[in-house]
C-alpha cells in the first residue's frame, strides 16, 4: 500500500564520519535513465537544485532519520525516509517520463500493484486534487476515449467506445455502483471529491467486476495515505458564473503510524442556480448537492480492514420547457427558436425536478495468506432512492418514486508467483426495487452470483492474460397486467471470456490487443416498460421475450512514446448479437392526450467500429500540443440502418504551457482548448423529432498553479469562451433550448498541514 513506486537504489557508501554527514546523489528519469536537472532536493532546512547531470550534494547533516523530498516539474513530489549513518550517495529514479505530459495517466505500467494490468488508464489523487476535479467529467477530461453525455449543467454520464448506461459499469473499489442507470438523464450518484484514484479499465481484468461492462469500467478507488503519521486538512472550493453558484469541500485526513490507522472524511456541498444559454436563462436547471464519504483503514503487517460510508443527496431541476405533455407541445417547442418558458434567473429549483439519494457502506478485509496469496472479501450495501416530480401535482407528491436496495458480497483471491498471477473470486448480489407513483419499471427482487478467474503471465516485454467469468441471475418481478397482479420470473446465465495482452515491440512502441465475448441481460426497463415516458412524449414498450445481448469485441491499442512525441491509437470493433435498443416504430398511438410516437425495445445485430486517438507533442520543455479524436460508426447490420443515439465524432486540440515560476505562481499551467463536435450524420431520415444539431466548436481556457510554493493551488478558467450558441446531439434538452453559454470559474485548493 504505502510503497513508493520510484525505485530507490543504493549505489554505494563511503567514508565514515562522526557527526557531519554529506548526502550526494543523482536524480534520473526512471525510464529513460536520463538525468533530471533542476529538480529541487530538500532535506531538513537545506534545498538545492540538481545540476545538468542531475547531481546534487547536501552537507552538514546529522546522523539519523531524515526526510528527503524531490520536486520536479511534471512529477509528483517524492518523499523518501532515509536513515543516514555515514556519507551516502544515492540514485533516485523519478518516473518522470510518464509525466512528461503532465497528465498523470499511466497505461498498465509494470509497477502497478494490481494484477492484470492490461488496459488501465489511471488518474491519481494528486492529479485530481490539482485539477480540483469537482465533477467526474472534469476528472476524466484528460483520459483517452472517455466522453460524456451531458444533460444540462448537472447530469453527465460517461461514454466509452460510444457506449453508456447499462453497457458501462462504475465500480466502487470492488463492487458495482447500483442506481437506476438505464435512464439517459440519470448520472452516476458519486461524490467526485471522494474518488482518490480513477481508473478506466478495459480487457480481461474487468471480469473481476462483472461480465456485462461491454464498453469498459470506470473504477473509483480511495486515495492512498502518506507514509508517516500526519493530519491534513484540505479545503476545496469552486465558484462559477454559469450556472451561477459554487461548491465547497473539506477533506480531513489522518494517519496514525503507531496504530496503523488511517481515516479520511470528505464533505462536499454544491449549489447552482439556473444556467444560461447565450441569450436566455435555462429556467429550472439549477441544482443542489450534498455528498461526502468516510473511509477508515487499519493496515497491519499482513492484513487490512477498511470501512467506508458514502452519501449523496441531490435535488435537480429539469429544464421546465423540456417537460412536455404531448406531441402538440413538442411541435410547438420545436417550432420555437427560444424556449417557451423563460423566467428570470433563480437559485430555486421548481418542478419538474428530481430528488436523488444514494447511500452506501462497505466493509472490506484483506489478508496475505501463505498458500493462497492475497485474499480480499467485502460486503457492500447500497440504497438508491430516486424521486421525480412533475409540475403536475405541484411538486408535493412524487410522480415517480423508485427505491433500490442492493447488497453485494465479493471474495477475491490474488496469487503472485514469479511472473505468474492468478486472480479468481466469487460474487453474490441481492437487489430489491420498490416503486411508488406512476408505473415505469416493476417492483422486483434480483439475485446474482458470479465466479471468475483471470490468469496473467507477465514478462519484461510482454504480458498475456486470459479470463473467464460465469454469471447467474434470477429476476422476480411483480407488476399489474390487465388489472391483475402477475409475477414474472426470469432466469439468465452466461459465460464471458477475455484474452488480452501487450507486447513492447521496442523501447518506444507498445501494442495491446484484447479479444472478448461478453453478454448483458436485458435491463428491467427493456423488459417491462409499458406506456408513456412522461416528460418525453413517447410511448415506450418493453419486451419480456428479449434475449441476452452478446458482444464479440476486438480492442487494440498502439502506444508510441519517444522523446517529444506520445501517440495513443486505440481502434476497436464490436459485433453484437441481439443488440437491444429503443427503436422508433414510425407509428403513433392515439391517447386521451393526443397521438404519441411509439418506441419499442427491439433486438438486432449491430456493429460498433471506432477509434480513439491521442497525440501529444512537446514543442519545447514548456509547451505541449495535444490532439485528441474519437470516431465512431454504429450500424444495425441486420436491417442495414444506423442506430439512434450514438455520440457524434469529436475532435479536440489543446495547447498547453507549463512553467516553474511566473510572478508568484509556481508549477503553473496555461492551456487553451478547442473542441469540435461534428454533426451526427449517421442517422435514419425522419426518425427523430427534429433534425440533428449542427456541428459546433467550443473554446476553453484555463490558468492555474500554486501561490509562492505555498499551500494554495488555484485554477481560473473560462468554458465556452466565445459564448457560442450550440446544441449537442446527445443532450436531451436539445429539442427545446440551446446549450450552456460562457462560464467563468475559479477553483482553489488549500492544504493545512
Amino acid at each position: 500500500m504505502r510503497k513508493i513506486f520510484a525505485v530507490l537504489l543504493l549505489i554505494g557508501s563511503s567514508t565514515f564520519t562522526y557527526s557531519q554527514i554529506t548526502i550526494s546523489g543523482v536524480v534520473l528519469d526512471s525510464i529513460t535513465q536520463e538525468p533530471l536537472s533542476l529538480a529541487l532536493v530538500s532535506i531538513k532546512n537545506s534545498q538545492i537544485l540538481t545540476n545538468e547531470q542531475g547531481g546534487f550534494s547536501i552537507a552538514n547533516l546529522t546522523k539519523g532519520l531524515h526526510l528527503l523530498t524531490i520536486t520536479h516539474i511534471g512529477c509528483e513530489n517524492r518523499r523518501y525516509q532515509l536513515s543516514l549513518e555515514r556519507d551516502t550517495t544515492i540514485a533516485f529514479f523519478l518516473p518522470h517520463h510518464l509525466h512528461t505530459f503532465d497528465e498523470v495517466i499511466s497505461y498498465g505500467h509494470r509497477n502497478n500493484s494490481e494484477p492484470g494490468t492490461h488496459l488501465i488508464q489511471r488518474i491519481n489523487h494528486s492529479k485530481l486534487e490539482k485539477i480540483a476535479a469537482i465533477t467526474l467529467s472534469d476528472a476524466l477530461q484528460e483520459s483517452n476515449g472517455v466522453n460524456f453525455l451531458k444533460t444540462g449543467a448537472s447530469i453527465a454520464k460517461p461514454v466509452i467506445n460510444g457506449m453508456h448506461s447499462n453497457r458501462i459499469s462504475v465500480i466502487n473499489d470492488d463492487s458495482k455502483q447500483e442506481g437506476q442507470q438505464w435512464g439517459i438523464e440519470h448520472a452516476p450518484e458519486i461524490d467526485p471529491l471522494s474518488a482518490g484514484t480513477i481508473e478506466v479499465i478495459k480487457g480481461a481484468y474487468t471480469l473481476s467486476f462483472g461480465g456485462d461492462a461491454m464498453g469498459g469500467i470506470i473504477r473509483l478507488l480511495p486515495a492512498p495515505f502518506d507514509d508517516t503519521s500526519y493530519t491534513k486538512v484540505v479545503l476545496m472550493a469552486k465558484g462559477e458564473t454559469n450556472p451561477r453558484g459554487g461548491q465547497i469541500g473539506v477533506k480531513l485526513e489522518n494517519y496514525n503510524a503507531i496504530k496503523s490507522w488511517s481515516q479520511r472524511l470528505i464533505i462536499n456541498a454544491k449549489r447552482n442556480g439556473d444556467a444560461k444559454a447565450p441569450g436566455y436563462v435555462l429556467s429550472n436547471s439549477g441544482f443542489g448537492q450534498l455528498s461526502g464519504s468516510y473511509y477508515s483503514l487499519f493496515d497491519t503487517e499482513n492484513s487490512q480492514i477498511s470501512f467506508s460510508a458514502t452519501g449523496f443527496v441531490q435535488q435537480l431541476g429539469i429544464l421546465s420547457t423540456s417537460h412536455i405533455g404531448n406531441l402538440t407541445d413538442l411541435n410547438r417547442a420545436l417550432a420555437s427558436d427560444t424556449p417557451l418558458r423563460v423566467n428570470p434567473f433563480t437559485f430555486t429549483v421548481g418542478s419538474p425536478s428530481q430528488f436523488i439519494r444514494h447511500y452506501s457502506s462497505k466493509i472490506k478485509w484483506s489478508t496475505d495468506h501463505k498458500t493462497f496469496g492475497k485474499i480480499s472479501s467485502s460486503y457492500t450495501i447500497q440504497n438508491n432512492h430516486r424521486q421525480e416530480f412533475d409540475s403536475h401535482n405541484g411538486g408535493s407528491n412524487s410522480a415517480l418514486d423508485l427505491n433500490l436496495w442492493t447488497q453485494q458480497l465479493n471474495v477475491i483471491v490474488d496469487k503472485h508467483l514469479h511472473d505468474f498471477r492468478w486472480h479468481y473470486g466469487l460474487s453474490g448480489e441481492y437487489q430489491s426495487n420498490v416503486g411508488n407513483g406512476r408505473y415505469f419499471i416493476p417492483n422486483y427482487f434480483r439475485y446474482k452470483s458470479g465466479a471468475f478467474a483471470v490468469a496473467t503471465v507477465e514478462k519484461e516485454k510482454h504480458l498475456v492474460e486470459g479470463g473467464i467469468r460465469y454469471d447467474w441471475q434470477l429476476t422476480d418481478a411483480f407488476l399489474y397486467e390487465n388489472k391483475a397482479l402477475v409475477n414474472n420470473q426470469l432466469y439468465f446465465q452466461g459465460l464471458s471470456a477475455n484474452v488480452s495482452g501487450w507486447r513492447a515491440v521496442s523501447e518506444d512502441v507498445k501494442i495491446h490487443v484484447s479479444l472478448a465475448t461478453r453478454y448483458r441481460n436485458p435491463g428491467i426497463n427493456e423488459l417491462f416498460s409499458n406506456g408513456l415516458h412522461h416528460g418525453s412524449a413517447a410511448l415506450e414498450f418493453g419486451d419480456i421475450d428479449l434475449k441476452q445481448e452478446r458482444s464479440y469485441s476486438a480492442n487494440t491499442a498502439v502506444f508510441y512514446n519517444h522523446n517529444r512525441v506520445r501517440i495513443q491509437l486505440e481502434p476497436y470493433f464490436y459485433y453484437f448479437n441481439d443488440y437491444i435498443y429503443l427503436k422508433p416504430s414510425g407509428e403513433t398511438q392515439l391517447t386521451i392526450r393526443g397521438a404519441f410516437p411509439v418506441f419499442n425495445y427491439v433486438q438486432t445485430n449491430a456493429t460498433y467500429t471506432g477509434t480513439d486517438f491521442d497525440l501529444r507533442y512537446r514543442l519545447s520543455d514548456q509547451l505541449t500540443a495535444i490532439g485528441k479524436t474519437s470516431l465512431i460508426l454504429v450500424k444495425d447490420v441486420k436491417n442495414k440502418t444506423y442506430i439512434y443515439g450514438i455520440p457524434a465524432q469529436q475532435f479536440n486540440a489543446r495547447i498547453k504551457y507549463t512553467f516553474a515560476k511566473m510572478l508568484n505562481v509556481h508549477n503553473g499551467h496555461l492551456w487553451l482548448n478547442g473542441r469540435y463536435t461534428a454533426k451526427q450524420k449517421n442517422v435514419e431520415p425522419n426518425e427523430d423529432f427534429a433534425d440533428t444539431p449542427e456541428a459546433y466548436f467550443l473554446l476553453n481556457l484555463e490558468f492555474g498553479g500554486q501561490i509562492m510554493e505555498g499551500p494554495l493551488h488555484f485554477n481560473f478558467g473560462v468554458r465556452n469562451l466565445l459564448n457560442t450558441t450550440y446544441r449537442d446531439y446527445m443532450n436531451r434538452y436539445r429539442y427545446f433550448a440551446d446549450d450552456i453559454g460562457i462560464n467563468t470559474y475559479i477553483t482553489i485548493n488549500y492544504k493545512f498541514k
Binding site: 417537460h323 412536455i324 405533455g325 404531448n326 402538440t328 407541445d329 410547438r332 417557451l340 418558458r341 412533475d390 409540475s391 403536475h392 405541484g394 427505491n403 436496495w405 447488497q407 466469487l426 453474490g428 441481492y430 430489491s432 426495487n433 420498490v434 416503486g435 411508488n436 407513483g437 406512476r438 408505473y439 416493476p442 417492483n443 422486483y444 427482487f445 439475485y447 446474482k448 452470483s449 465466479a451 447467474w472 434470477l474 411483480f478 407488476l479 399489474y480 388489472k483 397482479l485 409475477n487 432466469y491 446465465q493 409499458n530 406506456g531 408513456l532 410511448l539 414498450f541 398511438q589 392515439l590 391517447t591 386521451i592 392526450r593 393526443g594 404519441f596
Partner: protein, 181 residues
C-alpha cells in the same frame, strides 16, 4: 433454477434476512391512480332544450394498451347556438369516477381550450377564482353545413395560468371529427 446451488443459497439467505426492504411483492396498482380516460361533451340547443347531444371519447385502459373504444363524431345542427358542458371521467376502475369535480376545485390551475375549424366558434362561459376563463362550460355557435374538427385540450397550469393555452402540461387533448348538418 437449474442446479446453481450458490444462487439458490443466496436466494434463501436473502429472503430469510432482508424481507423488510419495502413491500416488493405488492406494487401499487396503477389502475388505482387518478387517470382521465374519457371525455364527455354534452351539447344542449339553447333554442330547443329537447335537442341534447352527447359525444364521447373513451380509452378505458389509459395510454398505451388497447386503442380507444369510443371516439364519436360530433354532429350539430347548422346555424344554432349550443350550451356545452364538459365532463372528464376515470373509467379505468369498476365504477366510473368524475374527475370534473376536482378540476372545478382546482379551477385556478386548469384551463380547457378549444380549437375548431372555421364556421364554428366557442366562447367559454365559466371563470375561475381569478376571473380567468375555465372552459368546463362554453357556448358553441355553428354556421353553415360542413365538416371539420373540434379540438379540446385540458391544460394543467399551476401558478402559471394567464388564460394562454400554450402554457402548462397537457392532460387531455382530443381532436373530434365534426359534422354540421
Amino acid at each position: 433454477m437449474k442446479n446453481n446451488l450458490f444462487l439458490m443459497a443466496l436466494v434463501a439467505f436473502a429472503q430469510f434476512t432482508f424481507q423488510s426492504c419495502g413491500d416488493v411483492e405488492n406494487p401499487p396498482n396503477p389502475n388505482e391512480e387518478e387517470l382521465i380516460t374519457s371525455v364527455e361533451l354534452n351539447f344542449t340547443n339553447e333554442d330547443n332544450s329537447s335537442d341534447v347531444r352527447t359525444f364521447v371519447f373513451k380509452d378505458a385502459d389509459g395510454e398505451g394498451g388497447s386503442a380507444p373504444t369510443d371516439f364519436d363524431t360530433i354532429r350539430l345542427a347548422s346555424n344554432s347556438v349550443y350550451a356545452l358542458n364538459v365532463r372528464f371521467l376515470d373509467e379505468s376502475g369498476d365504477t366510473p369516477e368524475d374527475i370534473t369535480v376536482e378540476i372545478a376545485e382546482e379551477a385556478n390551475d386548469h384551463l380547457v381550450c378549444y380549437t375548431t375549424s372555421a364556421g364554428t366558434s366557442v366562447n367559454i362561459t365559466d371563470e375561475d377564482g381569478n376571473k380567468l376563463a375555465l372552459g368546463l362550460k362554453a357556448q358553441v355557435t355553428t354556421t353553415d353545413v360542413g365538416t371539420g374538427t373540434f379540438m379540446l385540450s385540458l391544460k394543467h397550469q399551476p401558478d402559471i395560468k394567464t388564460g394562454d393555452c400554450a402554457l402548462g402540461d397537457t392532460d387531455v387533448e382530443v381532436t373530434f371529427e365534426m359534422e354540421v348538418e
